[in-house]
Assembly symmetry: C2
Homo-oligomer: 321 residues x 2
Amino acid sequence: MRIVEIPARKLDARAFISEKAQEISDTVGDGTAITALSGGVDSSVVTRLGGLALGSRLKAYFINNGLMRKDEPQSVARVFRRIGIRVEVLDAQKPFFDALKGLRDPEEKREAITQTFYKKVFGQLVKSSGARFLLQGTILTDVEETVAGVKRQHNVLEQLGVDPQAAFGYGIIEPLLQLRKDGVRKLAKALGLPVSVYKRMPFPGPALAARVVGEVTPERVEVVRAATAIVESELRNVRAFQYMAILHDDQFAGMRDGKREFGRQIEVRCWSSVDARTAKPVWLPRRELQRLAARLTREVPGIVSVTYNIASKPPSTMEAV
Amino acid sequence: MRIVEIPARKLDARAFISEKAQEISDTVGDGTAITALSGGVDSSVVTRLGGLALGSRLKAYFINNGLMRKDEPQSVARVFRRIGIRVEVLDAQKPFFDALKGLRDPEEKREAITQTFYKKVFGQLVKSSGARFLLQGTILTDVEETVAGVKRQHNVLEQLGVDPQAAFGYGIIEPLLQLRKDGVRKLAKALGLPVSVYKRMPFPGPALAARVVGEVTPERVEVVRAATAIVESELRNVRAFQYMAILHDDQFAGMRDGKREFGRQIEVRCWSSVDARTAKPVWLPRRELQRLAARLTREVPGIVSVTYNIASKPPSTMEAV
């Protein structure tokens, strides 16, 4: 299957919105569709599009997989409630952590999250809801990265030859397939979504699991969640494409109260980038780095060491795994 | 046993040197003593002192444990040849790597190096040489850190209740026990050692093994050795107490030729410190960090990511393990 790209500058947002709303409406007929909202701009745009096309026949869910940032499920639901879309937050922490238990390989962790999402949590949701369609915000970059083997995106299925109807029992509608991130942002604006949505920093599909090196346990996610809150709060006024905290698995010597204590390291990355295809570190002022290191070692339990990533993409990637 | 400290400012270097040379001479009598030179200022001063006291009855060795920096054995031998002390370089790479095989715990790795050094390599050396004494550059800080449990120094034995005579078959002479690093540097100068010795940057007892997180294999030491050569060459004009490259064990996503490739991370640390008891990172200029990251990812095989440590000691330590 060949997808014809629509570059952002050529995108007629209004025409695209009415065309896609019509397509969704035609496909779903008088049935219902489901969408899983992550808070990201792609899934937000798709949810809004689905709302326009289907009204209350669209069921929007936020799956709390236990891997989200501090207060994220509540704040996403709040944003959509304000624009008239009811989002149900579903607590699915247990199946995700069960699936992740003991896994250390990045590909296996991603696969466990994908499988748990589509087969277990979503499959049951679709079944119990009676919906026959899943509305999904896959974009062209997701497809390309997955096909090229750069990164296995969690939302690319048909492009890999997986038939979701046969595998999971529902069809997938992907209205954003021809767009890249900048096109989706343009749509978000045209759809009246708040700036917090369309200017939102990219956040990976596997959420904080992508920022935990080694096994993903509730305790380790809690550590990276606390570090993430500090980094996002400290760097909120920095002009950057993306910034993040990564919890390492390696152990490092540290000292507390004059005694040696082994602990872990938090790596901070702060990227300058246009389209995520290449990226360079933002060179933060010394004072900012000092504050980050001081807060992370003081406020996050078990952290004795903090680093700042100074490599470029390539050969680095933006996320750790 | 209580050791009375001699602070550097109160140290009468000439008097101290002749007093210690006399003590060494009295202790060894008409026998021979051995010293193991690491290239560090402590062992260099002790070797020079031993040379003054014993002349050719001092046998100086450089044990090449496979964990030293690029060209280090040869360059140390060269420095001492110039001041009239013959240093024999002993290839002992195999027993050290055999002992380190499969070990990942930092304490176990240190212990393996200590045991291999004292029992295997040095024990045999002493036996075959007929020497009854080992001249050693232990300083007060080594003893304190070991006793306090901050760090197990490789050269502290009697202070831990180990009788080297019973354990290894030789006595240990430690003429620098009352001094700290600044006192030893003062002695080095008074003894006419070259500036490359007495202004040499601190380097850990377990050598590059202290900078390899995870298993210490010949291949992994080769990686950190190449990274160390780059960091030391790039930062040679920086005013710093110490700088280093650390090879992590965690794996990170990277990209080469448009494909994902998992690789490892090099962490650079560059410390500003007076006495190593506390330390802060040196805030290197952006250009320097860029050059470090570019060279490390380009020239060191398998490295896809580079970080710079921004924490302070405490709660960090200067070395990684």
